[in-house]
Assembly symmetry: C2
Homo-oligomer: 394 residues x 2
């Protein structure tokens, strides 16, 4: 047996552990009495257009074509529609022949990392980061090099990033809007990163790839904008998922694209395809591939998240908690009032508040609050947060 | 970049290569003029019940629940339904808590192999075998040990199997009904394998797992029966897919189950879950998970395959080709009239017959003919086969 896999399966991620606890707890005391902020499972339904298009496809398409194998890279028409959308919307300059449809962003990431990495390579990761990144990177035999963000803003610490890049660095993995902080890297930050990477590539004489994991691209608040990274840096791969934008996280549909301007773009793309093959993906789920063209640019109704964000940010601050206001995604990263966030999360659990301690995000001393829940849950949870704050004398 | 992945992506499998050639060729001379026997893409539609149930689910279920993340192992109700079905139908003695839903059989295999194997381990594989097995095994760092079947029957050569098992053997991977030969291992053969493995486990003092890959379980002809392997050998994992039974290969829905009688079954299951996590699967596609309970025991209409099998077996024999009559699946494994099957497949291509040479199946000198096509294609192709045979003086 493979002991690493056994360990990964026996010790679930802190997020999943809490999510499963929440399910048990809800069965015990009623769903409405557990304030489950554990998981990024969208609470708003998929747009009506998703249902209508799925039914239209089922009723009007030859089932052999609809449910059959597509090419491993995905249906060519679907890939063309995605490229056209990205080029029209963001001036992304991408090519349908360098898009590979995947079973969601996780698959896009494992395929990209498996394509690019060899044992001993290093992946630089601004921290905090989504804990599964570590699992995905380490499975390839490569090493995670976390670089702490500026705690006042959760923007990358550019000097520290620069210092962390070595001759072994093959990948910088960015996630903006960020899980767990909600931070969005604005254009000057992206330009700074592109400069650093370009200089380091030159210095070490080897490509450094930027992987942009952006399942939260459309989830931005206020005036925040998410620059499209192929426009700033050539050696870029973009990993995307329709999980959050269309509220379809269980359906596993997304893609990875290699920038046509990347060094040896064709070879990198071939390696992504090879990785998909070796990991057992075969093709992205066919029905949901065919759904994509009609849903590009559509999103679920995010107004609930926007309202939740305001209610929760205001409410938690009023209680005395320290919160950096997030520009995107649907997470709040809250400073633990005691140094050990696990102890804090445990005390919160006693008040039926399920908050994920931040240790596995590579940034101890915080909890992640997923506010992709009902507004009613936010409202009903505020007294519990207040009591929790008082127990710390805030 | 990872050169192995680049190679896997640049050099497609012989099957996929021919499939893609077929698509181009059909565009050139018309689909009806290319006799494409390359791929196991079911030609019969999914049962009407699939469409009806999908539409019912879409129309009657809360989209947040229908399309949301399930537990990583899969929805508990779906897993319970599968266990109940297998126990009722086959006396399989399986447990819902040891079933892990996957994105098809390929994912079931990569999760199982990643769970069980460490670099240097050996996987014994009766040859011929589905070429992707080699890709899946070698990605874990383990080694494939092919053992040639009896060419008169394509049944395992039991003495050779026994001799191939060493202290390094962790897995015997069986595939019955077999791709590419269609052979089904009958009960006495299964009993023989169980005896061999039990003795070898004792001899080497370590578990040897039997992985049964059975996407063709329901595709059997005549009186052939497919024994359920958990009944014969304790250290068994079963990989299953609904791709062929329900004609849904593009949708990626299947499962792996660990026999409750396996040594450390809970740990093996945990390792499977850990592998699914590390490879980026998250959960099997949700809508198709929920489809499963209503479709257990259903199949697409296989009468076309049955008819094709008869027409093709008779037709090819009449031309002078050597064919072992298959008991299951939808493949015919035909002896090449010249030693080099690649040269034979090339000559066939000139007659617009797309046949997969068998080298990558670990058994040179044959071609695989996938007869999951329209009966009309079989009928129209027979003169081309006849001409081909004549060109060899058969």
């Amino acid at each position: 047996m493979n002991e690493k896999m056994k360990k990964l399966g026996s010790h679930r991620s802190a997020i999943r552990e809490l999510f499963e606890y929440g399910k048990r707890r809800k069965a015990e005391i009623g769903a409405e009495n557990v304030f489950d902020f554990s998981i990024g499972n969208p609470s708003v339904p998929a747009p009506e257009a998703v249902k209508n298009e799925l039914i239209r496809l089922l009723e009007s398409t030859d089932p052999v074509a609809l449910h059959g194998y597509t090419s491993a890279q995905g249906d060519p028409g679907v890939r063309a529609a995605i490229a056209e959308y990205l080029n029209r919307t963001y001036g992304a300059g991408v090519d349908a022949n360098l898009i590979y449809l995947t079973a969601g962003a996780a698959a896009a990431l494992t395929c990209s990392l498996t394509a690019l990495l060899n044992p001993g390579d290093e992946v630089v990761l601004p921290a905090p980061f989504f804990p599964e990144y570590r699992v995905f990177v380490e499975r390839t035999g490569a090493k995670v090099v976390p670089v702490a963000c500026d705690p006042a803003t959760f923007q990358p610490d550019y000097a520290a990033l620069e210092a962390a890049i070595t001759a072994k660095t093959r990948v910088l993995l960015l996630n903006s809007p960020n899980n767990p902080t909600g931070a969005v890297i604005p254009e000057p930050g992206v330009q700074k990163i592109a400069q650093i990477l370009s200089a380091k590539q030159k210095q070490f004489g080897a490509p450094i790839y930027l992987i942009s994991d952006e399942p939260y691209r459309e989830l931005v608040w206020g005036n925040a904008a998410v620059p499209y990274l192929t426009r700033y840096y050539d050696n870029t791969l973009v990993c995307y998922s329709f999980s959050k934008s269309l509220s379809l996280p269980g359906e596993r549909i997304g893609y990875v694209l290699v920038s046509p301007k990347a060094e040896n773009a064709g070879d990198v793309y071939a390696a992504v395809c090879g990785a998909g093959r070796a990991l057992g993906f075969v093709c992205a789920p066919a029905l949901f591939q065919f759904l994509v063209p009609k849903c590009l640019g559509l999103t679920a109704d995010f107004s609930v998240y926007k309202k939740n964000r305001e209610l929760l940010t205001t409410g938690l601050r009023k209680c005395g908690f320290t919160v950096v206001e997030p520009d995107g995604a649907f997470y709040l990263f809250v400073k633990s009032p005691e140094p050990d966030a696990n102890a804090f999360a445990e005390r919160a659990k006693q008040a039926e508040l399920l908050l994920v301690p931040s240790d596995s995000f590579g940034c101890p001393g915080y909890v992640r609050v997923s506010y992709c829940v009902s507004t009613r849950q936010i409202e009903r949870s505020l007294p519990a947060f207040e009591k929790l704050a008082k127990s710390y004398g805030l």
